[in-house]
């Protein structure tokens, strides 16, 4: 498969969105709303979930499934209040010692007037700083599109896992092609150059694990993730917090 095929698969309309993962992996989930500053962003979902005996905080970018729902969720592109809701819930997780599991699936943070006026850059920057030193284990799972800073805004984690067709890129292939070559039609070529696939990114130490999609049988993927997340939590909770934070810092620090 070429990079462009992975990009197409990651964006496919019938691909499961975060809601399916949450339902398929966790034993219960209670959604919590609002950033306590401005509003509640439906593109960013968060809440408390139970996995067997343990509780975790889940943060997810949700694209929606029906046309109406997709529009209502702004196709998974969050506003600043979405990033602030995510941070509020992550700080809550820290307070109660719950690990944080994020599901990343966004074309990018929303680019619009309100987003700028309410500080999209400041909201993401704040998440990057705070997530780096969040005193609980953090796991980011890329399930579809990983659009630049909008993805990173909930992905400063101890580990990054990527579904086999998920991608993670500094810029969309179309954006890259139109800026560099003034030709959005060369997106396939740009996708190749950007090294955005799960395989590329594990090679570059940006991601730690590739998750099989079992040829579209996502129930198997959910079952695998249920086990794998459980093991991740058990393993990371053994590590003293200061060491966990040092390892998280070093994971990003060594990328040069």
């Amino acid at each position: 498969m070429n990079a462009k095929d992975h990009v197409a698969a990651a964006r496919a309309k019938d691909r499961p969105t975060a809601a399916k993962y949450i339902k398929g992996i966790f034993d219960e989930f209670t959604e919590l709303h609002g950033d306590r500053c401005f509003g509640d962003d439906p593109a960013m979902v968060g809440g408390v979930a139970r996995l067997g005996q343990s509780y975790v905080t889940v943060i997810a970018q949700e694209k929606g499934t029906t046309t109406r729902e997709r529009a209502g969720r702004n196709f998974g592109s969050a506003h600043p209040e979405g990033y602030r809701k995510a941070l509020r819930l992550m700080k809550q997780a820290e307070k109660f010692g719950r690990p944080v599991i994020t599901f990343v699936d966004t074309a990018g943070a929303f680019c619009g007037i309100g987003a700028e006026e309410r500080g999209q850059g400041q909201a993401i920057a704040s998440n990057l700083m705070e997530m780096m030193m969040l005193r609980v284990p953090v796991l980011a799972i890329f399930i579809g599109e990983g659009g630049s800073g909008g993805a990173l805004g909930i992905a400063v984690a101890d580990q990054v896992w990527m579904l086999e067709n998920a991608f993670y890129s500094v810029i969309s292939p179309e954006g890259c092609a139109s800026i560099l070559w003034k030709d959005p039609a060369r997106a396939a070529e740009a996708a190749e150059c950007l090294k955005l696939t799960a395989e590329d990114l594990t090679d570059l130490s940006v991601a730690e694990q590739i998750i099989s999609e079992h040829e579209g049988n996502f129930e198997k993927t959910f079952a695998f993730l249920k086990e794998a997340i459980g093991s991740f939590i058990a393993e990371k909770q053994q590590i003293p917090v200061e060491e966990l934070l040092r390892e998280r810092y070093d994971k990003f620090r060594k990328i040069q």
Partner: protein, 287 residues
């Protein structure tokens, strides 16, 4: 890796890389006698512009200033010591035409990368300093940019120095792919550790500060100043217009609207910057 393959053109004002000093390099100065100000469209003498720190004497428009001129403007004489001056960009992904672009950027800016780092005294106050160079690929953040800024915050944490930073950036550098996006997390981690250790960080956002730099260390300072009319945004006006297909309100993304919306502390014109920075550094001195 091809790090250091393209030797940085020697600036004849700089005696050596290690002992670099803060004299202005007259490289971005237009050779023509007159410059047309993009603000008021009037023709101004280039010499007048230079004497006025590249601020238009007619309308006060702040034109882009290169790194060395900026350091000269705020540093106490002979106080700047440059760190990691030799670090230059490499092409980690083998991206088409990137090596040529790096070489062209070096020639255009006479800098080895898009940020200059070191230590300085400003009004007798010691500080760690970074200044981004808009003439180097529009100040875009590659791995070397991120590494130098991270090292500076780590150095300042260790030495108990405050950090003063001038940002100017088109965002993360796409030719280094995800490695450049990761610099947002890396620099933010370094700022966070520095901040948790009690360090004082003052940022001056200059035109343009956008994308991944706005969404990381530009917005993470304790005190955020900006130059008048500087474009400071996450997404640029053109991207927004393409996304929402409507005309933007005037002033969106400009320093004045960020001040009004509560995202920066103060707009400080160039001629007042040294005094302002010195005052803030003094207010946060620990000795």
């Amino acid at each position: 890796m091809i790090k250091g393959l393209f030797k940085k053109p020697k600036n004849d004002l700089e005696p050596s890389v290690a002992g670099r000093i803060d004299k202005p390099a007259e490289v971005n100065i237009p050779h023509e006698l007159c410059t047309v100000c993009p603000g008021c469209k009037k023709s101004v003498f280039s010499s007048d512009l230079q004497e006025n720190d590249c601020v238009c004497p007619n309308c006060g428009k702040h034109l882009r200033l290169n790194t060395r001129q900026r350091i000269h403007m705020i540093a106490d004489p002979d106080s700047f010591r440059e760190f990691w001056a030799d670090m230059s960009g490499s092409d980690p992904l083998g991206f088409p035409d990137y090596e040529e672009k790096l070489r062209a950027a070096e020639l255009a800016s006479r800098e080895a990368e898009s940020v200059v780092t070191g230590t300085v005294r400003i009004g007798k106050n010691p500080a760690a300093l970074f200044v981004m160079e808009p003439a180097f690929m529009m100040g875009s953040m590659g791995t070397v940019t991120g590494e130098k800024i991270t090292r500076l915050f780590e150095y300042a944490t260790e030495k108990g120095l405050p950090v003063v930073g001038f940002t100017a950036s088109g965002g993360a550098r796409m030719q280094e792919g995800m490695l450049s996006l990761m610099q947002m997390a890396k620099t933010s981690g370094a700022v966070k550790r520095f901040s948790d250790a009690g360090g004082f960080y003052l940022a001056v956002l200059t035109d343009p500060t956008t994308g991944g730099v706005t969404a990381s260390f530009a917005m993470e300072a304790d005190v955020i100043a900006a130059e008048p009319d500087a474009l400071i945004c996450f997404a640029g006006p053109r991207v927004i217009e393409q996304t929402i297909r409507q005309k933007l309100p005037p002033g969106l993304g400009r320093a004045e609207s960020l001040l009004k919306n509560g995202f920066i502390d103060k707009i400080v014109p160039r001629r007042e910057q040294k005094k302002f920075i010195a005052r803030m550094l003094r207010a946060h001195r620990k000795d």
